[in-house]
Amino acid sequence: MSILPEELRYLESHEWVSVSNETPGIATVGISAFAVAELTDLVFMALPKVGQSVSAGHEFGEVESVKAVSPMYSPVSGTVVEIHSELVNNLESLSVDPYDGGWIMKVQMSDPSELARLLDWTSYKHQCDNA
């Protein structure tokens, strides 16, 4: 299934989250095309571990680009059930496909109502356009 940016929810810090109808309790998380473009050349990414707890709005990993280390924040709370481990050796692909192929982790959500607090595409795009 293709992930469309218009259908995602976002944190102000540029992480996206997707929830499919097939697995409604699982949130797929990544960073937006805007974030990838801002960060430019990514060289390192530190991922969480499967089984690790994450909290909405708190750091779950780190990324380095142009000697700048930036945290990645989780849009939802829950437990990491899968990580995209191949991504750390293929970070260039994020600039081509930050959504489908660029997912970072999947989280078993503990509180799906947190999704409602995230930005929709229109609000997120407005934030980026005015950055």
Partner: protein
């Protein structure tokens, strides 16, 4: 103004005045300059980490300039200590890990700086990381050129990607990114960043002179041969070792120059650590003024600076 309590223990604090005009981002900012004595690696990193961790939207912008009580290796945030075994002499040094990225630095004959820009409630101060690098390094270029050095930005890159990161040199000063400050082919200043929701921390290092630990690197002192003064060139050109001069190591620049009959010592100050600290603060303030409009109150610093 709230500052992390750890600072008051170690730092000479110079408070800046609240701004009375609009800043470049429309957000009035206070600023402080911290000048620390040489401290351990752990303490130096703890201070910078505390600055970032405890930053609030009301915290001041901070410029901190410091040295290290003994030669210490700092690793970039993602670097492996095991990789330093490939560079002779490094694995014997005490070492710390920075919160910022980039390559390893031997903190010996250099001066380190950190800049903290807290996030504000109204608008993110993040922007593109290269903006702050260019602002700070561009300011250093301008001020070094004024002193006679042929400084410029590298505009070349040995930058790694996720797939070839092992191929990049271990040491920061052996790497090149487009915004690094170079003189000739030698890198003299490099910087790296850490960004969190609390703010932006930028580390940087100005290489003052050669360190025995990193014989492949030379600093501003060795590059004195680029000065336009013929006398200085004659005084410091040691043909047997190229740009590095034994007299300068043993006697210091001023004495070595005077012994050789120089009429005008144009570069005495650059070999005085205190003068370089003042120089670096001047550079940082001028560079940072392109990003955040802070007015600093440390006027004595400028009046006594030999570089003004």
């Amino acid at each position: 103004m709230s500052l992390p309590s750890v600072l008051t223990k170690f730092s000479v604090l110079q408070e800046g005045a609240p701004l009375d005009g609009a800043s470049l981002q429309g957000i009035p900012r206070e600023g402080v300059v911290l000048i620390d004595p040489p401290l351990s690696g752990e303490t130096n990193m703890a201070i910078d980490e505390a600055l970032l961790r405890d930053a609030t939207p009301e915290s001041p912008v901070v410029l901190r300039v410091y040295r290290w009580e003994q030669p210490t290796l700092s690793l970039g945030h993602f670097q492996s200590w095991d990789d330093c075994r490939a560079v002779p002499g490094l694995s014997d040094l005490p070492w710390v890990r920075r919160k910022t990225g980039g390559g390893a630095i031997v903190h010996d004959q250099e001066i380190t700086y950190s800049i903290l820009i807290p996030e504000t409630r109204n608008k993110s101060s993040k922007g593109h990381s290269e903006l702050l690098y260019r602002a700070i390094h561009g300011s250093a270029v301008e001020n070094l050129q004024r002193l006679g050095w042929d400084a410029k930005l590298s505009e070349t890159c040995t930058c790694s990607t996720a797939t070839n990161q092992k191929e990049e040199p271990f040491l920061c000063f052996s790497r090149r990114s487009p915004v690094d400050l170079i003189i000739g082919t030698d890198k003299i200043m490099g910087s790296a960043q850490r960004r969190t929701s609390a703010g932006l921390l930028q580390h940087g290092s100005l290489l003052i002179r050669h360190s025995p630990t990193t014989p492949e690197l030379i600093g501003l002192s060795e590059l004195i041969t680029q000065f336009p003064s013929k006398l200085v060139q004659e005084g410091f050109r040691d043909d047997s070792v190229g740009s590095y001069n034994k007299d300068m190591r043993e006697k210091g620049l001023h004495d070595a120059l005077m012994e050789r009959g120089c009429e005008k010592v144009v570069a005495t100050a650059p070999f005085d650590q205190t003068a370089w600290v003042n120089f670096l603060i001047l550079v940082l303030k001028k560079g940072l003024s392109q990003i955040v409009n802070c007015r600093w109150q440390d006027r004595n610093l400028d009046e006594h600076s030999v570089f003004m």
